[in-house]
Symmetry: D2
Amino acid sequence: MANRKPLNILMIGQGFMGRAHSNAWTQVRKFFDPPLMPVLHTVAARDKQKVQEFADKWDWLNCSANWRASIDGDDVDLVDITTPNNTHADMAIAALKAGKHVACEKPLANTLDDAREMVRAARKADGKTFVWFNYRRCPAVAFAHKLVASGKLGEIRHVRASYLQDWADDSVPLMWRFQKRHAGSGAHGDLNAHIVDMTRFVTGSEIAEVSGAISETFIKERKKLTDGKPGRVSVDDTVLFLARFDNGAVASFEAARQATGNQNRNGFEINGTKGSVKFNFERMNELEYYDATTDRAVQGWATIICTHAGDHPYLEAWWPDAHLLGYEHGFTNMAFDVLLALAGKKPNVPLPDFEDAYQTQRVLAAALVSADEKRAVRLSEVR
Amino acid sequence: MANRKPLNILMIGQGFMGRAHSNAWTQVRKFFDPPLMPVLHTVAARDKQKVQEFADKWDWLNCSANWRASIDGDDVDLVDITTPNNTHADMAIAALKAGKHVACEKPLANTLDDAREMVRAARKADGKTFVWFNYRRCPAVAFAHKLVASGKLGEIRHVRASYLQDWADDSVPLMWRFQKRHAGSGAHGDLNAHIVDMTRFVTGSEIAEVSGAISETFIKERKKLTDGKPGRVSVDDTVLFLARFDNGAVASFEAARQATGNQNRNGFEINGTKGSVKFNFERMNELEYYDATTDRAVQGWATIICTHAGDHPYLEAWWPDAHLLGYEHGFTNMAFDVLLALAGKKPNVPLPDFEDAYQTQRVLAAALVSADEKRAVRLSEVR
Amino acid sequence: MANRKPLNILMIGQGFMGRAHSNAWTQVRKFFDPPLMPVLHTVAARDKQKVQEFADKWDWLNCSANWRASIDGDDVDLVDITTPNNTHADMAIAALKAGKHVACEKPLANTLDDAREMVRAARKADGKTFVWFNYRRCPAVAFAHKLVASGKLGEIRHVRASYLQDWADDSVPLMWRFQKRHAGSGAHGDLNAHIVDMTRFVTGSEIAEVSGAISETFIKERKKLTDGKPGRVSVDDTVLFLARFDNGAVASFEAARQATGNQNRNGFEINGTKGSVKFNFERMNELEYYDATTDRAVQGWATIICTHAGDHPYLEAWWPDAHLLGYEHGFTNMAFDVLLALAGKKPNVPLPDFEDAYQTQRVLAAALVSADEKRAVRLSEVR
Amino acid sequence: MANRKPLNILMIGQGFMGRAHSNAWTQVRKFFDPPLMPVLHTVAARDKQKVQEFADKWDWLNCSANWRASIDGDDVDLVDITTPNNTHADMAIAALKAGKHVACEKPLANTLDDAREMVRAARKADGKTFVWFNYRRCPAVAFAHKLVASGKLGEIRHVRASYLQDWADDSVPLMWRFQKRHAGSGAHGDLNAHIVDMTRFVTGSEIAEVSGAISETFIKERKKLTDGKPGRVSVDDTVLFLARFDNGAVASFEAARQATGNQNRNGFEINGTKGSVKFNFERMNELEYYDATTDRAVQGWATIICTHAGDHPYLEAWWPDAHLLGYEHGFTNMAFDVLLALAGKKPNVPLPDFEDAYQTQRVLAAALVSADEKRAVRLSEVR
C-alpha cells in the first residue's frame, strides 16, 4: 500500500453526507485495493469547533473554517462537496479553476442556471468531475444496468420509478428543507433527482419529453423553529410526472414525503420485450428479475440476492453470499470507482460527471414547467 | 328455498364473461342465502348451436338466438349483458324500456355518447341498473373500501393504480381486441376502466382533473387472422395518466398489455395521513395495510389475509380462514349483492349503477383528450 | 354431453366436506369435459330434515337417512365418503363389498387396524378406491410433483414440511375435534396426514424412518359444550417429527393448531442438488422455484404463478393467467381425475388409492410410537 | 474523545473474522460514542509477512507472530480471539490467567471438555468474557428479544429455527472445514451454534431436552487440495434435531450446507399465545411480527424495518429510516456493547459470556448423542 500514489482530499461540509463520505474514503482502502491511496487531508466547515470535533472523530488530518483558502492549497487533489445545494456552484467552480478534481453531492445545483455554469466550468477545466448519485453503486442497481446493457431485457417499453418517504407529517417543524431559498425544492430535487438519474443509468436512454406534472404542498404551514408560530412552506411535498424516453419507452415518476408506510422506497420497475427488473431500496440487496425467454412453465419474478462475488458488481470486496450490504456501501463503492477513474482505469459502471448530472437537472426543470403550464414539455425546450 | 321469490334471468352472450356470470348465478344460491332465488331462465346468443350447447353445459332452462325477442318476454326480470362493449347501449336501453332490471358488463360503453344515452334511459326507467365492476367484490378490495370509509386511513393524499398485463407480445395476431371498431380501445377501456372504478370506490372520491396522458401502440402491425398478412392495430397497447381527486389527492394510472412479468397486476396503493393500503390482484386474497397510528416500533406493512368470516366482506359464505378464494368469487359475491339490492336490502358494499359507471367513463374520455391535446383536462370539460 | 355415460354418485355426509364435494361434482362438468357424466344421485346423512335441505341446496336428486341401504342401491356407481374418520372403514368396506367404487375423505382411518382392513377389502374388490388428499390437485403442488419427476431438482436432499394453524386458542370449547374417541387425534391426523401425503407425492419417495417425535397438548382442558365446565382434551395440539426418506433425504414435519399468525400454512420446501421448490397454501397459486443450473448471476427464488393453461396442470379448464384459483378448485380438479381414472384414462397426476393412503397412515403411526418411546422408529416396525 | 480511557486490544487471527473485528473496533468510535476508547493495539498471527500487511491495511498499531508473548504484554486490556475453534481454549485460558478480558469467536470450542475448561478459567479470573454471537446484535434480532421480554408474545409455544446455506456442492474441495480435526464439526458447530444461541436469547429460556437428531454427510468424498484425489469428509453436511425448552415450548433446529437456494437463511419463527415473530438474515433489517391482540380484521404479519432510531436497538448510531444496515454492523454493535460492559454500563441487550456460550455448547453436544444413540437426550445428561 505504501507504494500507491496518495490522493489528497478536501471535503467541504460535515453533516449527514459528510459522515457518509468520510466513511467511504476510509473504508475504500480497507475493503478494496484502489490504485490511488485516498488521504483524508482536510475537512472544511463553517463552525470551527464542530469541524475540529468532526475531524477528530473521522480521522481527518486537518480542518479548516475557510473552504476557499483550503481549495487553493497546493496539496489538495480532489475537492469533495457535501454542503447544501445552493452552495455547490460556487465551490465547484472555484475548485475547478484551481485545477482540482471535484466530487459534488447531488443534485448538481438548485437552479438550471447554476448547473449550466458548473458544466461550462467543467468543460474548461483539467480536473475531472463526479456527482454522488450513490444509488448507481448499490450492487443491485449496478447489476440492473449491466443486465439491460447486455440486452437481456430486450427493447425497453415501460419505466415506473418512485422515491417515496413518509417522514414529513405535520409534526415536523419548518426546517430548512421546507424553505425554497435553502433547499431549492422539496421532494423534487431531493428524491426525483435520484430516480431520474437511476432510470437514465439503468436504461441507458435519455428522457425526451415530460408531461402532466403535478406539484403539491399538502402541508402549507409548519411551526417555525424560532418561535413555534406558523410559517409558510415554500417547497413541494410531492411531484409526479410522466415521461417519454428517446428509445420510445413510456415512464412515470413520483417523489413524495408523505407516502405513509414508505420509509425509503426508492425504486423502479423496467419492462422490456425480453424481461423485466424491479428494485426497491428498502430491500437494497435484492433485484427482482423476470426472464421472459425461458420455459413459460417456470417463468416468474426471481429474487436475486446481489451479493455474489464475481457475478455482482463490487462484491469481491465485501462478504460471502447473502451477508448483506447496507446504505453506506454505495458510497464506498463509488469512492472506489472514482479512484479507478482518477488512475485512468475504467470504473465498474459509468460514473456521472457534471455533464451527465446536467441532463438529470434538465428533466427536473422540464417537470416544473409542465406543472406550471399544465402541458407536455419537450426536453429540447429546456437548456 | 322454495319459498323465496324467483328472479328470472336473461343472459346475453356466451363468451368468457358468459361463463363467469353463469357460474355466479348458480353458485350464489348454494353458498349464500339470497333473498331472491335466481333462475337461469334464458341465455341468448347469435349462434344457435353454440348457445344450445352452452345452455346445456351451464344449466340454462332456455336458449335463444334473438335477444330482442327474449327481452320482451314477460317472465324475464333481469337482463344480464355480457356481449362486446359496442353492443351494450342497444341491449341495455331496450331492456330498460321493456321494464327490466339490467346488469351490464363493464365498461359501460365504447363511447361517451353511448354511455350518456344509457344513463338517460336508466333515469327514465323503473328497472334498476348494475355494472359488473367485479373487483369491488373481491373481499380485500371491499375491505379496503370499508377501512377508508371508517376513517382508518385519515385524509387520502396519494393514489397509485395500475393494471398491468403482458400477454400481448408480437406473436399475438390481429384479433378483435386490437381493432377499434370492435373494442373501442385497447388497454384503456379494458384495464384502466377497472382501476378508475376501484380507486373511486375505495377512496369514495371523484377525479376532478387528468393530465399528461400518454397513449402508445408499441406493436403497430399484427398478423391478420384471415391471411396472416400484416394488418394495422387501431387501439392502444398502453395508456398512462395522472390525476387529481376532488379531495385533493394526487394519483397515477397506468394500463398496459406488454408489461413483461405482470400477468394480471391489477392493483393500487393508497396513502392517507393515518395509514395506507396496497392491493394486487395477483395476490387477491391479501390486503397490505400500514397503520401509522400504532406504536412506531412495531409499525410495518401487515399482510391481511382477507378470509375471516365476520370481519371480511362475503366470507361468511365461503371457507375457513386462509382457504383462499379465486377469480370467479367476485362475480358470485356481486350476484349476491344484486339480489340483495333487488329485494330492497343493502348490499355489502356500494353497487355501481349506470350513473356511477358513467363517471368512470368520463375519466377515460378525459384521458384521451389529454393525450391528444397534450394538456391537463378538467372533468367538467367532459360530459 | 348427453352421450356421455353417467356416473351415479352416493355421497355420505353433509358437513364442511359434503359442501366441498357437492361443489366439485357439480363444477367438474361445467369447467372440464369429463369422459363420464357425474350425476348427483343421492346424499345420505343421519338427520332427515337436514339432509333434505342439503339435497335441495346442492341439487342432489335424492336423499337418504340410511347410508347402508343406499349403498346397496343398484344404480349407485361411486360411494363418496365425507363423514368423520371413525366411520370410514365401515362405509368403505360395505361399499366395496357391494361392488362400488369408493372415494374416501382423508385420513383413511383413525387407527392403523381400520386402515389395514380397508386396504384388504380394496384388494379383494372390483371397485376402484380414491382418497381425497385434495392438495395434490392444487396446481402448484401438482406442478412441483412434475418438476421433481422430470429431474429438474436433481437428487432430493432436504424436505421441510409443516401444516400450521392458529384457530385453537383457549377460547375454543371442547368440540369433537378435541376428543380422541371421535377425532382419533388432533393436529396429527388432521394436518400431518396432508403434509406426509404431499411430500411423498412430490418427492416420489417413501419415508423409511421417523425419529424424535414430540406430541404436546398445550391446552389440557376446555369448556364443555354442554355445561361450560372444564373437560379434558384427549388429543394433541401439535406433533413434530423428523424423518428419513428412502432416497436418503432428511425431513422435518410439524402440525400445529396454535402457531399464532399461521392461519393455514400448509407447506413444504424441498431442496435438491439441482434446484428447490417451496409451497405455502396461504399463497396456493404460487410455487417458488430455485433453479441452480442457470447462470449464477441471475439465480434466485422465482415466484411462479401456476395459472398458465398448457403449462400448469388443470388450468386449461379455468381462467386466463393470474386469474387465481381458490380452495375448492383442488376438489374439482380431483373429481376430474377420478372421472378420468374411472373411464380408464390417465389422471393428470397420480391419484392416491387406499394402498397409497395406508403408507401415509403408517408414517403417522410410527411417529406416535416414536413420541411414546422416545426413540427412532423404522417404518418396517409398523404394519 | 481525547478524555476517554483507552482500551488496548490484542486481536489474534487475520482471516474472515479478523477483518470483521478490525472493522468493528474501528467503526465503533466513529458511529457511537463509547465510554472507552478502543485502540487497535496489536494483531497477532502466524505468518509474519501477512500479519504486517494486515496491520497496515486495518490500521493496527503493532503486529506480532507470537500470540503468547503478546498476551503477556502489560498494556493489553482485551484479547480478541478470531482463530479456528480448536485454538480457542488455549488462547482464552492463557489470556484469562494473564488478567485480560477476553472476547472469543463462536462456537466457544470444538469439544465440551474444552468449553468446560474455559468456563472454569473464566470463573476464577478477574477479566470479563464475551463470545461473538454477533447475530444477537442484528437490530431485528435484538428487537425480537425485547418484544418477547416485554411480554408482547405471551407464553412461547413454538420455536422453529434453521440456518441454511448452499455453498457446499460437490465442486467444493476438501478444505479444512470438511475435516473434523480442524473444524470439530460441519454445519452443526458452524450454523446450529448460532440458532441455538439466538433462540435461547430471544425466548429467554433454556433447552431441556433434544430428540431425534439426524446427522448426515451427503458428500462423503471431496477432492484433496493437495493432489486432487478423493479424500474422506469427516464432518456433517447437515444436522437436524427437535427440542423442548424448559418453558414448555417445542422446537426444531436445522443446519445445512446444501439446502439449494438458501444462501444464508439464518432464521427463526417463534409463536406465542399473544403474537409471533419471524426473522431471516437474508432480509436482516426486517422483523416480521404478528400481533394477535389487535382487531381480528386487520391482523396480519407486519414487516417491521428495524431501522428507527429510538425504537430499534443501535439505530441511534446509524442512518435515517430504511437506510439499511449490513452484515458487519452486528459486530460493530457488539463492540459498542462490550465497551459499555467494560465501563460498567448495561449493554443494549444481554451479552453472552463463556458461561452462557457453554449452555449452547451443551445443546450441540446433546444433539450429537441423540443422533448416535437414536433417542431423546435430557440436557442434564450432558455436562
